[in-house]
Amino acid sequence: MDYDDSDRRNGPAGPAPAAVKFLIAGGFGVGKTTMVAAVSEVEPLRTEEYLTVASVGVDDVAGVAEKDTTTVAMDFGRITVSPELVVYLFGTPGQERFWFMWDDLVLGALGAVVIADTRRLQTSFGSIDFFESRGIPFVVGVNSFDGYQDRTVAEIREALDLDPRVPILMGDLRQRAVSRDVLLTLVDHLMDGRE
């Protein structure tokens, strides 16, 4: 593994592990925190970030956009892979229009899971557009509580206008094994043709 030691300083607490993250995206109430909770080794934590975003209306004379500050909340969890590597899972807040101004969201992100709800697939569009435009690999997890599913993978792929290479999985994301398999599928997707 490419562990760059140049920025590592050893103190009494020992060397710090390297960190990467997965983003868990999707519409409000679709099950992002549920998935984080299913695989995290700790209870999901919540934190807030302030984002400074250009507001509507640009002052053409000064050439400076008005700036607004908004608060977004994130739930996140952690999987310690080894003493040298920790994986964080961040449930992304809604309001995808803010993500483009928020570099920290994607820093260190290996890839993303977009959780979809077949009753309101349109709530996934914003996340999919963002990851496609930023070139961040993602898979789609369709949350089907208790295994109930009213649409086929092909129907969902068409409705979401997804590239045929983007994996789609269905399952009850409350179950650790299901959420774990979604993440494993994402890692396999990242590895495609590389082994």
Binding site: A16, V39, V106
Partner: protein, 131 residues
């Protein structure tokens, strides 16, 4: 003529919620190292708080960070533990970096649009399989 007392004016709620956390940073909204810190930058305390000199005058929040980071944790975890916004937490961590009492490790560089290192992915996969 009625005299309106300014202190009795209700604060604008939005403004209040953004301004209040910054009292902990004495009003500072930027810091020396804050821009280098990310949500998953790992922070580790370089010495136990009782062994450190020059830490007088630190806020209780600084001491919380020194205690919490005796085992390495991410900036986001520190913010959650302090119940403070990430932006404010970064300023407090930056103070401690300047004092030399904590060290920061940036997340593994994952270039957007480029596939990450295959050994990194294998390690992540092995970790997930153990869940």
């Amino acid at each position: 003529m009625p005299i309106s007392h300014w202190a009795d004016e209700p604060l604008d709620e939005d403004e209040d919620s953004f301004v209040r956390p910054y009292t902990i940073t004495h009003g500072r909204t930027v810091s020396a190292h804050g821009d280098d810190l990310t949500l998953i930058t790992i922070i580790v305390t370089l010495a136990a708080p009782e062994e450190q000199f020059g830490t007088r005058g630190l806020e209780p929040e600084h001491r919380f960070i020194l205690e919490r980071c005796r085992r390495p944790v991410a900036v986001a975890e520190i913010a959650a533990g302090l119940n403070l916004p990430v932006a404010v937490t970064k300023i407090l961590i930056s103070d401690l970096i300047t004092l030399g009492t904590v060290a920061a490790r940036a997340p593994l560089a994952v270039a957007v649009g480029q596939r990450p290192d295959i050994r990194l992915l294998q390690a992540v996969r092995d970790g997930l399989r153990r869940l």
